[in-house]
Amino acid sequence: MAVDLPDSDQLLRVSLGPQHPSTHGVFRMNVALDGETVVSLKPVFGYLHRNHEKIAEGVTYLSSMPYTDRLDYICPLSNNWAYAMAVETLAGIEVPERAQHIRVILAELTRLINHTAFLGFILGDMGAWGSALMYAFREREKILDLFEDLTGARMMANFMRFGGCRNDLPDGWAARAKTLVDGYPAFLDEMETFLVGNEILLARTQGVGQLPKETLINGGVTGPMLRAAGVSYDIRKVDSYGIYDRFKFRIPLGETGDCYDRIMIRFLEMRESLEILRQALEQLPGGDFVNPKAKLRGFKTPVGEAYSRIEGPKGELGFHLVSDGTVNPYRYRVRPPSFINLTLLEDMCLGLDLADVVIILGSIDIVLGEVDR
């Protein structure tokens, strides 16, 4: 592929990917190295471009819901919520109380599985080869069991509907979720014991991959990467979508924004998620799990457009829908956090070693389903 790399023949050109253990999917980076130092890094996308947006133009709004699961496939339920919220904003559909609570509970559980899997993957990138992944997936399986009881599927839940959720919580689900939430801090304590003062982690991640705050904001970076640099911007607090304004939780902030901060901030975010979960499970009201007046299939949205966003585990996940009054969307656009967070990948890696590139890419926490859609 024709890529613009510096011309000198003293440089070593390496193509990392698309099949590579550390690229988190089919992502390719064309790197030009002077010895071990990165001189230029050009990412190549599109190896998982499944034209989700084009398919969505040909099917109804509800039929796109299963496809949103497959966008960021580590956190499918947040994607479902973001899309459902976009259609609800577009068409003016209200969501009942119980459904809002269920959505918050599922979204925070999804944040837990995403950050847990992230820990496993980035430690695998650093050479821990699968030990951390084993611990992480042990906890993830417990949450996936809950999802399977509720939605019928471990991963591709397809659970949110316009106006609420697909079905109500089964008996005993809330109690089991509470048991899980009570037991989760033990896992976090265990991982922190292994990681916080770990020499190898400190040596490989401190001082690596930081950028000034203004550059990050200008680059459209959102999510834990932005907060690790000290910018207090969490869409759950800024937009207060859903019922997040009813829960007391803090926003952890990092200091320098290097890879170490990005890893540690996820520990703190998981603890805040547990706090939200405790409150949401306690305050769970009765009532409808879906708006009884909402028509799900074959409904025509009013003419107009809407952009709505949520604080997904990876950043700002937005959906921009343009409707021409028919049953299919006219234009369906996903604002992918992983894709836009990668804009500054080259800036973060210039002047560092090749090994650092792997850590930096891991700390951005990308999922190719979302990057390429």
Binding site: A2, G46, N51, H320
Partner: protein, 209 residues
């Protein structure tokens, strides 16, 4: 806090005289109205919004293909003082801006090309907002809008040798899948091109290979 495009529009008109701006209202319940900016003044407007009005994050850049300008004007309705912009089809780029300091957003800004031909172009927002870099490359790849001033405009999702712009409304995908056990709807017509002609005696059976 939601942005107030009408007030921002007035402010822009006083700050940047000579630019052609119009308010476009959104008829749906979301009421996210937008500011339509003339192509040539797009960069100046974005710069003013970033430097003087605190909109420091360009979050989303969307491309839309409007072969039918009447439909485009039904989604972004002409407000007062604005005029209908096109007689023929065009391509549009929609920007969503946020202010991280003032917690305001989204501010919706639109810009349109002259037509849907090969020369369709819009000035690039990358000198002002770095976040537009990959998103504009994607719009170039999938819609065919050239962004003048983009540092590295080439295809991003499709391979370089690809010549079509797939997200356009008149794109025809290659017909490369035959096997469809029970085609229905529009797929029947496509499937008939691949099935051998059936005689009246034949029943639904799978010819063994």
């Amino acid at each position: 806090m939601k942005a107030d495009p009408a007030a921002i529009l007035e402010h822009l008109r006083t700050a940047l005289p000579g630019t052609t701006l119009a308010l476009r209202t959104n008829p749906g319940p979301s009421a996210q109205h937008s500011i339509l900016v003339e192509r040539e003044s797009l960069v100046a407007v974005l710069q003013h919004l970033r430097d003087a009005m605190g909109f420091d994050m360009l979050s989303n850049v969307t491309g839309v293909d409007w072969p039918d300008p009447v439909k485009a004007d039904s989604v972004a309705v002409v407000g007062e003082g604005g005029q209908v912009s096109h007689n023929e089809g065009f391509l549009e780029v929609i920007y969503h801006l946020f202010s991280t300091e003032n917690r305001v957003g989204p501010l919706v800004v639109r810009a349109r090309t002259a037509d849907r031909g090969d020369g369709a172009h819009i000035p690039s927002a990358v000198p002002i907002f770095r976040s537009a870099e990959f998103q504009e490359r994607e719009i170039y790849d999938l819609f065919g809008i050239r962004f003048m001033g983009h540092p590295d405009l080439r295809r991003i999702l499709m391979w370089d040798e690809f010549v079509d712009h797939p997200m356009r409304k008149d794109y025809i995908a290659p017909d490369d899948y035959e096997y469809e056990p029970t085609p229905h709807g529009a797929v029947v017509e496509k499937a008939k091109a691949h099935y051998p002609a059936a005689d009246s005696q034949a029943t639904f059976s799978r010819a063994s290979d």
